[in-house]
């Protein structure tokens, strides 16, 4: 079963929401541990361009800092984006579209049975936490990444894999 609207989401109990959230957080951490085949903020296709509609400059970017520099614009949306991302965070693999409609639940809505629509998947700082907060506003679901910790590059390049970033 898929939850793709607010009405269905409201039928999910707080306990079930918490269980789903925990399971997806586990997936996010698993994805973040996938080794980066190259480096930087990029997708998996040859040219490495990002596929998200909200990101007009598709890159790819050699590091998190390069990404932040490219989006350092006089715009509320991008200003918000810049503030959210730790410049020292390293790009990790992410689904990049954790909409509830992309998560297949068991009929009793207790467990996640699968994850679909990986077309936007990419290596992104903090697994795309900031973009998720902006794009997914269903109550409780916007806080999916809360409390999660991601790798941080202490050398300051934003493309290594040392330390952690909250």
């Amino acid at each position: 079963m898929i939850v793709d609207d607010k009405e269905t989401w409201e039928k999910v109990t707080p306990r079930q929401r918490e269980a789903i959230k925990l399971q997806v957080q586990g997936y996010i951490q698993e994805l973040a541990s996938i080794p980066h085949p190259s480096s930087g903020v990029r997708s998996l296709v040859a040219d490495g361009q990002l596929m998200h509609n909200q990101l007009p400059d598709p890159g790819p970017f050699p590091s998190t800092r390069a990404f932040l520099k490219a989006y350092d614009r006089e715009d509320f949306f991008f200003g918000y984006l810049i503030k959210q991302i730790d410049p020292d965070s390293t790009p990790v693999f992410s689904h990049f579209d954790w909409a509830l409609s992309n998560i297949v639940l068991s009929p009793n809505m207790d467990t996640v049975m699968g994850v679909i629509d990986w077309e936007r998947a990419c290596f992104f700082p903090e697994a795309g936490r900031c973009v998720h907060r902006m794009c997914h506003k269903l109550p409780g679901w916007e806080a999916l990444f809360d409390g999660m910790v991601f790798p941080k590059d202490v050398s300051g390049n934003g493309d290594g894999r040392v330390g952690t970033a909250e």
Binding site: V45, V104, W118, A121
Partner: protein, 190 residues
């Protein structure tokens, strides 16, 4: 035995189909031999249910690129022939999505073809996103235990076919939901 008798004896064997050497010389079985090789290759792969892309890769390794190409094209046509309006479930935006009994096919819109309410997709972007998804699914399957659909065939840049094995189709009003649900039945995990 006289020479005449030997010749008669030989002809008798010939009629019985016994002397293989003579038959091979008379009918060089190049095509036959080729078909037999193909048959020997295909049967084990079909028996053990080896996915087609792996089989095609195997054929390429064995220096049968023409055969692999032929089979791939043939498979594309077969998959496309399954894309009937009855199975079309989404309002079409970037692609048409067809739900079959055991598979889901994502088919890109061809150039000039419009989506729902005249929506014009960015064709090159959709193609790239499909490529990205296939690579992502492979990466996720290799490195994690996250249940994701399996790509069973990707053909000629416009057809993408996904996971299989339906154990139960639950009575959910929205057909899209019920089939997606079944993609992740316990049989198809891992």
């Amino acid at each position: 035995m006289s020479l005449n008798a030997t010749a008669r004896f030989s002809r008798l064997f010939w009629r019985c189909g016994n002397p293989p050497i003579i038959r091979q010389q008379a009918y060089p079985p190049l095509l036959e031999r080729f078909l037999v090789y193909v048959w020997y290759l295909v049967i084990p792969f079909r028996l053990f249910d080896v996915p087609l892309p792996h089989f095609l890769q195997f054929l390429y390794c064995l220096q049968f690129p023409a055969l692999a190409h032929f089979l791939a094209e043939n498979m594309d046509e077969q998959w496309l022939s399954l894309c009937l309006d009855e199975g079309l479930v989404h309002p079409t935006l970037d692609r048409r999505v067809y739900v079959l009994e055991k598979y889901i096919i994502k088919k890109q819109l061809s150039h000039g073809e419009r989506g729902h309410n005249g929506y014009v997709p960015i064709y090159s972007a959709v193609k790239k996103r499909d490529e990205n998804e296939i690579l992502a699914l492979k990466l996720v399957q290799e490195h994690t235990s996250i249940p994701v659909p399996k790509v069973v065939h990707s053909g000629n840049g416009y057809v993408y076919v996904r996971s299989e094995k339906i154990t139960s189709i639950r009575a959910i009003t929205n057909i899209k939901l019920s089939f997606l649900d079944s993609l992740f039945s316990s049989d198809s995990r891992g």
